[in-house]
Amino acid sequence: MGIKIVNIECFLPEKLFSNEDAFSLFPNFEPDKIEGKVGIRKRHIVSENETALDLAIKASEKVLERYDKNNIDFLILCTQSPDYYLPTSACILQEKLELSTSTGAFDFNLGCSGFIYGLAICKGLISAGIANNILLVMSETYTRHIHPKDFANRSIFGDGAAATIVEKSNDEHIFEFILGTDGKGMNNLIIPNGGMRNRFNPNAELKSDESGNSRTDNDIYMNGPEIFNFTIKAIPSLINQTLEKNNLKFEEIDYFIFHQANKYMLDYLRKKIKIPAEKFYCNMLETGNTVSATIPIALKDCIESGIVKSGDKVLLCGFGVGYSYGATIIKI
C-alpha cells in the first residue's frame, strides 16, 4: 500500500505587479537586474478584499472539477494568512466547497516548506487508516503582509494557491521524508507585530534600509542574506540525507524541484549541490515566489509540459520561514 498525487490545480489572482510597475513607483528598482538575477518579471497579487481563503476556494474548485468531492474525507490547508484567528480557514473551506461534514479539516501554519510537510501529513493519515482521499491546499498572500514601500520584498513575492488530491494507492509514489527545523532563525523572516506577543501597532515606526526600502514592525521583515546562509548550510546535507534514507543514488533522480525562492539562490544551490541544469526546475518568471504554493505549481508545470514523465523519480525540497525545511522523493 502507498499514497500518490492524483491531480494538482493552481489559481493565481488576476491582478499583476510587473517590474515596470515597481520602477514607476520606486526609481531605485532595476527591472532588468530583477528579471536577470532574481528571475522574476511579474507577480500575481491579490486585491484589497481578496484573501488566501478566496484563492484556496478557486484552486480547490478547479481540482474538484475532475474529482468526485464526495470521496474527499480530509482537507488540509497550509497558510500563514488566515481570514481569522479563529475559526480555522479549513473549516470555512469545507463549507464553501460543500464537502461532507464527515471530512476532517485543519490548517497548518508553514511557509516555503509547507508542501513537503503537507505530503508528510497525508502519508501519515493515509498509512494510519485515518483518511483515504485528501485535499491538500497551499494558499498564500504574502503581498498582504508587505509594506507598500518595501520594494525588496515586493520584487520577490507573489500570491497564489495550489490544490492537490492525495490518495491511497496500491504502490508507493511518495517515498521517505527528511524534515528539519531551526527556530534560531525565527527573527530572519518574521512579521513582528499582530500576534499575541506584540499586538498590531497603528503607530509603529517607519524604518528604512540603505536602499530606500521601508517597513514597520506590522509588516513582513526578511533578512535575505541570513536566509541565504541558512540554505547554503542546510540544503546540501538535506538532499544527501533524503537520498540516503531512500537508498537512492544522486544519478537515480530524474528531476529536482526546489521551492522557487528566487533564481539567484536556486542557481547557487544547484551549482553547490552539482545538479545538472537540465535536471533542475527554475521558473518563477511570471509568478514570483508564491511561498508554499511554488512546489505544486512547479510540479504541475513539469507534468503538463512533459518535463517529468510517468515513472520518473522527482526530488522535492522546501525551505524557509521558521526556519523550517524538508524534502522527499516522489514517483510520478
Binding site: K33, S211, E226, F228, N229, Y264
Partner: protein
C-alpha cells in the same frame, strides 16, 4: 587568491559599474550597487572561493574592502 584577482573578480561578480576598479580602500556601502541582492552575491562569492559563510551581521560591519578581506583572513591573499 591574489589581491588583484580578488578585486577583479569582485568587480565582475558584483556587476559594479559605478566605479572602474575596486581597491582595498573602496567602501562597500558607498557603492551605488549596494542592496540585499548585492550582499547575497558577496556571500555566494566568499562561500564559493573561501568556503566561508559570512553572517548578515558580519557583512553589515564591513566598511572598506580591506575590512572584508580581514573577515576572510588576510593570510588567504597573496600580493
Amino acid at each position: 587568491m591574489t589581491k588583484a584577482n580578488f578585486f577583479k573578480e569582485m568587480h565582475e561578480m558584483l556587476e559594479i559599474t559605478s566605479v572602474d576598479t575596486i581597491t582595498e580602500e573602496t567602501v562597500l556601502k558607498e557603492l551605488e550597487e549596494y542592496n540585499s541582492l548585492f550582499l547575497l552575491t558577496i556571500i555566494a562569492f566568499i562561500d564559493d572561493n573561501f568556503n566561508l559563510q559570512l553572517s548578515a551581521e558580519q557583512l553589515a560591519s564591513v566598511t572598506t574592502i580591506k575590512s572584508l578581506m580581514e573577515l576572510i583572513g588576510l593570510k588567504k591573499f597573496e600580493d
